[in-house]
Amino acid sequence: MSDQMKDLVRLAASGKINRRAFVGRMGALGLSASVAGSMFGMVAQAQAKKGGVLRAGVQGGQSTDSLDPALAASDVPFMINMTWGETLVELEPGGVLSMRVAEEVTSNADATEWKFKIRAGMTFHNGAPVTAEDVVATLKRHTDDKAQSGAQGLVKGIAEMTAEGDTVTLKLAAANADLPFLMADYHLIIQPGGGVDNPAAGIGCGAYIVKEFEPGVRCVMEKNPTYWDTSRGFADTVEVLSINDNTARTAAITAGQIHMMTRVDPKIAEMLAGAEGVVIERAAGPGHYVFIMQCTQAPFDNNDLRMALKLAIKRDEMVEKILGGMGSVGNDFPINAAYPLFDDAIPQRAFDAAKAAEHYKASGHDGSPIVLQVAPAAFPGAVDAANLFVASANEAGIPLTIKLEPDDGYWSNVWNVAPFCASYWGGRPVQDQMYSTAYLSTADWNDTKFVDAHFDELMLAARGELDPVKRKAQYSEMANILRDTGGLICPMFNDWVEGRRAEVGGWVANPAGTLMDGKALVKCWLEA
C-alpha cells in the first residue's frame, strides 16, 4: 500500500472523510470502486465505538403520527420505525439486498414461487421468538381486503402465503423476478402476530426498543440487549427529534444539539459544509420532482402539446436554481442511473424553443392559457420551479400560467385530480415497482392517466423475465415509450442532502432513502 493510500485509510478511520471522497481518491490511486468501498467499510467498522446518545433531527413529524408501520407516510415515522423495526430484507447501496429477518431467499425457475427462510434465534422486544407465522400475519395485515396500509398496492400480487416450520412461501399470481425487493418496503416491518392486535405498539425485532414516544416531538429508543447482529446498534440510546423548521434544524446541528439532520436546504449546503464540525452527505437517489399532465384531459390528450411542454423546460437551469446543483436532469421517464438495468444510451432531452413551438402549432391548441397548478407542498422549491417553467414556455410561445394552490389538502384535491400539476416521487428500489406503481394503465396511482397496451405488456413480460439482457431491452423500450408519449414531465432527480456531525462514524450514504434509508441511528456510532 502506498503512503497516499495509508493516509487515506487513516483519514477514513478517524472519520475525517466520507465514503464518497474515500472511494473517489482511492480510485485516483488506481483502486477499483468496489474494493475501495468495502475497504472503507472495514476500516470504519473496526473503529466503531459503543455508547452515548445519538440524536437525529428529522423534518416531517406531526402530533398525529403513529407507530403503526402501515400508516407511515413521512420521514419522522419512517425513521422511527426503521430504528425499532426490521424487514425481511434491506436494500443496500448499489441496489443489492441484505438478509435481515429472512436468512435466505430462493425462488422456483419461473419466479412464481418464493421461499423466505426465517433467521433462527431472533426475538421480538416482548421476548417472543420471531416465527414464520409472524411474518405471514404481518404480510396479511398489509394486503388483505380490510388493509389500511400504504403497502397494500405493492403486495397485492401475492396469491397465497403459507408458513411451514421456519419457511415462508409466497405464491404469486404472475411471475415477479423482483419480489424480494418489494419485501424491503418500509411498511412491511415484521411485528409479533403481524401487529393485528395493537399495530401501533412499536414492538418489533430491531436493534432498538421504543422507550418513549411523543408524536410529532420525539421518540427515545434504547439498545436491544439481545439483538443478534453485532455490526449494528452502537449507541446506548438513540432519539429521533421532530424538527420541522429548516432554520431550527440547521441551528441545532451546528450547535451540536443533534448529530444528524434530514433535508439540508441546497441553498445553504455549501455554507453549512463550512461550519465547524458539520459534514454534508449527498446521495444520488431515485427521487424526482415532476409536472404531471393527465393524458385523458384536454388539452393534454394531444401528444404534440405534451411534447411541446416537454421541450419547453430548461432542465439544467432547474437543477442549478431549484436543487442548488445537488441533483441531475431528468429525461421524462421516472428512471435514472440509481436503478439496476438503466439504459444510459437513451438521448437526453433538452430545451428547444423552435421545436417546442413547432409541436405547439401542430397541436392546434387555441392559445388559451394552459394552467399549471402548484403548491409549495408539491416539492421544495415547487413554486419557483413552476415560475421558471412558465418563463421558458413563454419563450417558446406556449401560453403557460400558474395557479397557486394551498398546501393544505393538495394531495387530495389537486394531485391526481387536476389535469396539470406539480408533484414528486420518492422512487422505488427497482424499475418494475416504479412503473407498476404509477404508469401501468390499471395502477391506483397512475397520476398521468397514461394508457398504452404495449407498455403494459412489456412491463408484465419484464416482470417475469429472468434474463437481464432481455429485461434491460424491455425496460429501455418502456422508457422510450413513456419519454415520447407519456404525460410525465420529469425535469430533475433530487439528491438526498443531509448533514451529520463530524463525530458520527459509520456513515454510508444510501440512495434508497433518507438518512441511510432510515438506518443511520442503527448503523452509526459516536466517536469519543
Partner: protein, 318 residues
C-alpha cells in the same frame, strides 16, 4: 346577593353557552374543509380500497349530525375520546401539552407584564422626552418584527454567535425546573419582545389620560414627587384599561403562539392543534378549540370583574 356575584354568575353562564356555540362552529369549520381524515392520513399513498377501509373503521360514513351529537354526548361526560389519527388518548395528550403551553405563557408573562407596566410608567413620567421616545421606539420595533424573524435573530445570536442556549426547545417529563427554564429561554425572549409594546403603550396612554385630571394637580401641589403621583394617584385610576390589555396579551400567549412553537419545535398546544386540523382530526380540534375558547372567555370575565371592582361607579350602580 351582591350584584357583583350575580354578574359573575351571569358571565360564566353566558360563557358556557358561548362554548357550545364555539363547538358547533368548530365542527362546521372542520366539515367545510376539503378532504377528510382518511384522505389526509393516507395522503399521496391513498387507494380507493384503503380509503374505504379507513373511513369505515373511523366511522366517517355516519351522517355529520350523528357524529356531532355523539361527540357532544361524550364530551359532556368528560370523555374527549381518542384521536382519529393515531388512537392516542386526547385528554392525556392535551394534559401534557396544556402544561407546556401554560409554562411558556407563564414564563413570558411573569417577565413581560411587570416589565411592560414599569416601562409604561417610566415613559409616562418622562412624557415627550428622550426616555419616552427610546422606550416607544424600541418596543415598537420589536412588535413590528414578525415573530419568526425575531426568533431566527435570537437563534443566530444566542446559539451561534454566543452559544449559550439551545435552538430546539422541546421539554419532556422528567426534566427539572431549571432544565425547563433553560430549554424555553429563547421562545420566552421572543414572546416578551412581541407582547411588550402593546401593554407598555396602553399603560402609558392610560396614565397620561389620568394625568390631566384636577386631582393629579392637587397631588402635585401637595408636594408629592412625580413617581409618587403616578404610583399612588394615577395608576389606581388607570388600572381597568391596563388590566384588559394585559389580559388580552396573556390570552395571546396561551392561544396564539403557534409560529414560535414551530420555530423552536416547542411541544405545546398550538402545534398540536394545527397538526390535527391538517388531518381533519375532529375530536382533537374540538377539544383544543374549546380549551382556547375557555381561556379567552375566562380571562375576559376576569378583566371585566377587575374593571368593575376598580371603578366605584360600576361597583355601586344606582
Amino acid at each position: 346577593m351582591h350584584p357583583l356575584i350575580i354578574l359573575v354568575v351571569q358571565r360564566i353562564a353566558l360563557g358556557l353557552i358561548l362554548l357550545l356555540a364555539v363547538s358547533v362552529l368548530i365542527f362546521l369549520g372542520v366539515e367545510a374543509l376539503p378532504g377528510d381524515t382518511a384522505q389526509q392520513i393516507l395522503g399521496q399513498g391513498a387507494t380507493p380500497e384503503t380509503l374505504a377501509n379507513m373511513r369505515e373503521s373511523l366511522g366517517l360514513n355516519e351522517p355529520a349530525l350523528t357524529r356531532y351529537f355523539s361527540w357532544l354526548g361524550h364530551a359532556l361526560t368528560g370523555d374527549f375520546g381518542k384521536a382519529l389519527t393515531n388512537k392516542m388518548d386526547i385528554a392525556q395528550a392535551i394534559g401534557q401539552r396544556l402544561g407546556n403551553t401554560l409554562f411558556l405563557a407563564a414564563c413570558a408573562g411573569v417577565i413581560a407584564v411587570p416589565f411592560a407596566i414599569g416601562l409604561g410608567l417610566l415613559a409616562a413620567r418622562h412624557n415627550g422626552r428622550w426616555p419616552d421616545k427610546l422606550i416607544s421606539g424600541v418596543t415598537l420595533a420589536t412588535i413590528s418584527l414578525p415573530e419568526f424573524v425575531a426568533a431566527y435573530f435570537v437563534i443566530y445570536l444566542l446559539t451561534q454567535v454566543i452559544p449559550i442556549l439551545q435552538p430546539v426547545s422541546m421539554v419532556f417529563p422528567g426534566m427539572t425546573f431549571l432544565e425547563r427554564l433553560h430549554a424555553v429561554a429563547l421562545p420566552v425572549i421572543v414572546l416578551v419582545m412581541v407582547v411588550l409594546a402593546h401593554m407598555m403603550r396602553m399603560t402609558r396612554a392610560a396614565i397620561l389620560n389620568v394625568m390631566q385630571s384636577p386631582y393629579i394637580e392637587t397631588a402635585e401641589l401637595k408636594g408629592l414627587s412625580p413617581m409618587q403621583v403616578i404610583w399612588r394617584h394615577a395608576l389606581p385610576n388607570a388600572v381597568a384599561p391596563i388590566v384588559s390589555v394585559v389580559v388580552i396579551n396573556l390570552a395571546y400567549l396561551v392561544v396564539g403562539v403557534v409560529v414560535v412553537e414551530v420555530v423552536f419545535s416547542y411541544n405545546a398546544l398550538g402545534q398540536y392543534l394545527v397538526d390535527h386540523v391538517s388531518k381533519r382530526d375532529l375530536p382533537v380540534v374540538q377539544a383544543v378549540g374549546l380549551i382556547f375558547a375557555a381561556v379567552y372567555i375566562g380571562l375576559n370575565i376576569f378583566a371585566d370583574v377587575v374593571g368593575i371592582v376598580a371603578n366605584p361607579r360600576l361597583r355601586h350602580p344606582k
